[in-house]
């Protein structure tokens, strides 16, 4: 019984979707474009902030912090 009900319901949803898939497509395209634009803005911002200007020093710098803390503990 439940099985039949479920089938019926899912068929209903399916039918609704076929008739209204327009909305879904609009929604999905809208959402995807908003997300894409968001990433573009984030990228432009990161360039502007100078993140890519020095690609070397941060890679060395990140290894340092530990040494300083260790040194502090010793003293």
């Amino acid at each position: 019984m439940i099985n039949v009900m479920f089938c019926f319901c899912s068929n209903l949803v399916h039918l609704w979707l076929i008739n209204h898939r327009m909305i879904v497509i609009y929604l999905m395209i809208g959402v995807s474009i908003v997300i894409a634009v968001l990433f573009l803005i984030l990228f432009l911002k990161s360039v502007k902030s100078g993140q890519y200007e020095d690609m070397y020093t941060p890679s060395v710098r990140m290894l340092f912090d530990d040494e300083l803390i260790e040194e502090n503990k010793e003293n």
């Binding site: 327009m22 497509i25 609009y26 395209i29 474009i33 894409a36 573009l40 990228f43 432009l44 360039v47 502007k48 890519y52 200007e53 020095d54 690609m55 070397y56 020093t57 060395v60 710098r61 290894l63 340092f64 040494e67 300083l68 040194e71 502090n72 003293n75």
Partner: protein, 791 residues
């Protein structure tokens, strides 16, 4: 005896007097740095790398000028009474230990808030509290641990030019739009009509239009500007047909979607702009540690010490405020900023910045001193004869050669071609339009716009940037650094090569030393070596390294008179070394750097110092002479002419005794005769010639430190590869020409579709990227092939 090396700088420890626990140091300076770092819990400095340090320099009084508020203000990037920010170039920075200690400066002094390092640029940016520490103390602090900042006149003008990121923004937007438009245009390529597509195509088309607007307006902006400038100068550059193509693409596509005629060519449009910009990025190669724009300002100090004669006081004044008649104090290791007359002190001046001559020159009181030299032994006083801009060397920069706008007037390969290209396209479009006007009026607009779209020389515009960019990269790896890719085209047209002598075809790394006079016995040579062991004079250091190894013998009655010579007694033999006047003999030749030797009162002869010629000089000249006119243009006298004529191939022209402005004039005359001149030089005295020549290469022993303004910098070790580099540039041009043929083939196919009225968006969408990508692959593979062949 096992040699111990300095814990701080890695040099040999000669004696044991500087030791802390089990660590030995080569000098007091290194020991002091270790002590400073250890006291401030920065001992980790020595954990990252072995012996990372460098010997701190003696700086007493050197930075006094930073107390002058006007000067300090010019150096600061930011100052709000409480905190200040300042950036310095620190040439000594070389390893991770350096980064670590320089970023922990706040532990050394509580006044320093923060410091951060940009390692590729060798720059440090320090934020400090004005209350607690002055700018001068900051500089002295980092100097005291061995990182002396390099402060020059140029620093006062810095901070205005920031790196230009526009191209990255443009390509990001173009790439973003290209990807999205491609996706949105796909459905219509696969399905001609149908319920589903009819419903959504309006949305898709509108979105494509929306994505294309910023691409045309912002990303392609530079092409419009360049085409406009070209037209204004009556030059049909490559950007004209490109702009034509872009505009027609955009206008036709917009008309198609607004009148519901079709889907437009937005994918081709955005793709075209994206590929074009990609070519630009690829062509760009920046070496963060090199500068091609340097003039004398990069080497001259900001301030000098002026001696106020009435009050007998010293004061620091800006270099530009130095007037004729002022008396200046030049300390050890300081640069002489203006022409003047030596008043007193031992002038021993290193002109290697200016002439490339590595051997320092001795000057007597009353001699003329030229700007640009570096004082090496002790402090001197001098009277100013000329202000900075009017000095012998610096007035060179007022020449027109430095202000010429090099962008226009230079014909490059693509632009020469594009002139004809544009005309041909317009003619084809016109005839096709006329043909269809009689055949089928409705198709005229369609056909004409199609021709203009498909003829857009995207592949043509891409082949040169990719080929040149690739070669540029390979050259960079082989230590031949070009300012920009256009330079390669210039090199291929060269027919005359002019070399400077000193520092260019001679090296200033090793000096050849000859003894002239009666032979010295081995014992006597060892005596000389022992005598000069403790002398710090640069000539003596060179001679010490040259003489054969010997046992250490104590010297008695040792006496050194700065700037003149030394004397002493070894094994009961009396040695006197020094200038001719010091040992009471007459000089035979002028302009010669020599140490005279007198043993037991008898003048035995002299050691002559000469720059030796670079390795491979004769083969380089031999290879080049078959194709180029070779000229040697030197500021020196003709002393070396005989030797050079023997070594170098016949036909090489020698011109001696040339002043810097003579060199510039010489090149101008050559160019007036229709020659295309390549100048190879090194010092500031060649700067005018380098700027005037069609292509200027600066040879540099140390690319981090010195090179005048030029089009390319060649690492001195690669001098023998010069013919190879020149050959490669020629072959690259041939490859570019071949790629033009390829891209014309694509254009012909495209134009066939266009004039027959068959150009559909899908054909454009396939043909345009296909032609671009295949041309790019073609040139990249071929340039890789030729560069690999000529290692």
């Amino acid at each position: 005896m096992s040699k111990e090396t300095c814990y701080h700088c890695g040099l040999d420890c000669l004696d044991k007097q500087y030791q802390i626990e089990d660590k030995c140091f080569c000098c007091n300076g290194c020991k002091t740095v270790y002590e400073i770092l250890n006291q401030n819990e920065l001992g980790c400095y020595y954990d990252f790398e072995q012996s990372p340090g460098s010997i701190p320099k003696e700086i007493k009084g050197k930075f006094n000028y930073l107390n002058n508020l006007d000067i300090a203000e010019k150096l600061l990037e930011f100052n709000d009474k409480e905190t200040s920010v300042v950036s310095f170039y620190v040439p000594n920075m070389h390893c991770s230990s350096c980064i670590w200690v320089l970023e922990n400066l706040s532990k050394l002094h509580s006044g320093i808030v923060a410091s951060s390092v940009n390692f590729p640029k060798k720059e440090i940016r320090i934020t400090f509290k004005n209350e607690k520490i002055a700018l001068k103390s900051v500089v002295e602090l980092i100097t005291s641990i061995g990182y002396e900042p390099y402060i020059s006149l140029e620093d006062t003008e810095r901070g205005k030019h920031k790196s230009n990121k526009t191209l990255i923004y443009q390509i990001a937007i173009a790439g973003f739009a290209f990807g999205n438009v491609m996706l949105l245009s796909f459905p219509e390529y696969f399905q001609d009509d149908g319920f589903w597509l009819d419903k959504y195509k309006h949305l898709f088309r509108f979105l494509m239009f929306a994505f294309s607007v910023p691409v045309v307006v912002y990303s392609a902006k530079d092409y419009f500007i360049s085409a406009y400038k070209g037209l204004k100068h009556k030059i049909l550059n490559i950007d004209v047909p490109i702009v034509l193509g872009i505009s027609v693409l955009f206008i036709r596509s917009s008309i198609e979607i607004f009148f519901d005629l079709g889907q437009g060519f937005f994918d081709s449009l955005t793709g075209l702009v994206f590929f074009l910009l990609l070519g630009r990025v690829f062509q760009q190669r920046t070496y963060s540690y090199l500068s091609f724009e340097r003039d004398y300002k990069s080497y001259f100090p900001i301030a000098v010490t002026k001696i106020n004669r009435e009050e007998g006081k010293e004061e620091n004044i800006e270099v530009f405020k130095v007037k004729k008649g002022d008396r200046l104090l030049i300390r050890n290791e300081e640069l002489i900023p203006v022409d003047g007359i030596l008043i007193n002190g031992n002038a021993n001046i290193d002109y290697s910045f200016v002439t490339g001559e590595s051997v320092p020159v001795l000057k007597k009181s009353g001699d003329k001193l030229f700007a640009g030299g570096k004082q090496l032994s002790g402090a001197i006083e001098m009277d100013v004869l000329q202000s900075v801009q009017q000095s012998y060397l610096t007035q060179l920069w007022s020449n027109d050669a430095f202000s010429k706008d090099s962008n226009f007037g230079i014909k490059n390969l693509v632009d020469t071609l594009s002139k004809y290209f544009t005309y041909i396209i317009l003619v084809i479009a016109l005839f096709a339009g006329l043909f269809w006007f009689f055949r089928d009026e409705n198709l005229v607009f369609h056909v004409v716009s199609s021709v203009l779209i498909i003829a857009c020389p995207c592949a043509l515009a891409l082949s040169a940037p990719f080929a040149l960019g690739n070669v540029l990269r390979v050259f960079g790896k082989r230590k031949f650094y070009l300012k920009n890719a256009e330079g390669i085209e210039q090199v291929a047209r060269i027919d005359t090569i002019i070399f400077d002598k000193t520092g260019t075809i001679t090296t200033n790394k090793d000096t050849s030393i000859n003894f002239i006079g009666g032979e010295l016995t081995l014992e006597e040579q060892q005596g000389v070596r022992n005598l000069i062991r403790s002398s710090n004079h640069p000539l003596n250091r060179m001679l010490y390294a040259f003489l054969p190894n010997s046992k250490e013998v104590p010297v008695i009655n040792f006496r050194e008179i700065l700037g003149k010579g030394i004397q002493g007694e070894l094994n009961k033999i009396n040695y006197v070394l020094g200038s001719a006047s010091f040992i009471n003999t007459s000089t035979s030749t002028i302009n010669e750097t020599a140490i005279y030797v007198s043993i037991n009162g008898v003048v035995r002869g002299r050691y002559i110092f000469k720059n030796s010629y670079r390795k491979g000089l004769d083969t380089v000249f031999k290879t080049l002479s078959s194709r180029y006119n070779l000229i040697i243009l030197s500021g020196d006298n003709e002393g070396e002419k005989e030797y050079l004529e023997k070594v170098l191939p016949k036909g090489t022209v020698f011109v001696f005794n040339q002043k810097p402005e003579n060199k510039l004039e010489f090149i101008k005359q050559k160019q007036a005769k229709g020659n295309c001149v390549l100048m190879i030089g090194d010092g500031l005295n060649d700067a005018g010639a380098l700027a005037q020549s069609n292509f200027g290469i600066a040879i540099s022993e140390n690319t981090n430190v010195f090179s005048p303004a030029c089009d390319a910098i060649l690492d001195a070790t690669q001098f023998d590869k010069l013919p190879n580099f020149l050959k490669l540039t020629e072959q690259t041009i041939t490859i570019i020409k071949a790629s033009f043929v390829l891209s014309f083939l694509y254009n012909i196919i495209g134009i066939y579709f266009a004039v027959t009225g068959q150009l559909s968006p899908i054909i454009a969408a396939i043909l345009m990227p296909l032609s671009s990508i295949s041309v790019v692959v073609f040139v990249t593979l071929l340039t890789n092939f030729i560069t690999n062949k000529r290692k």
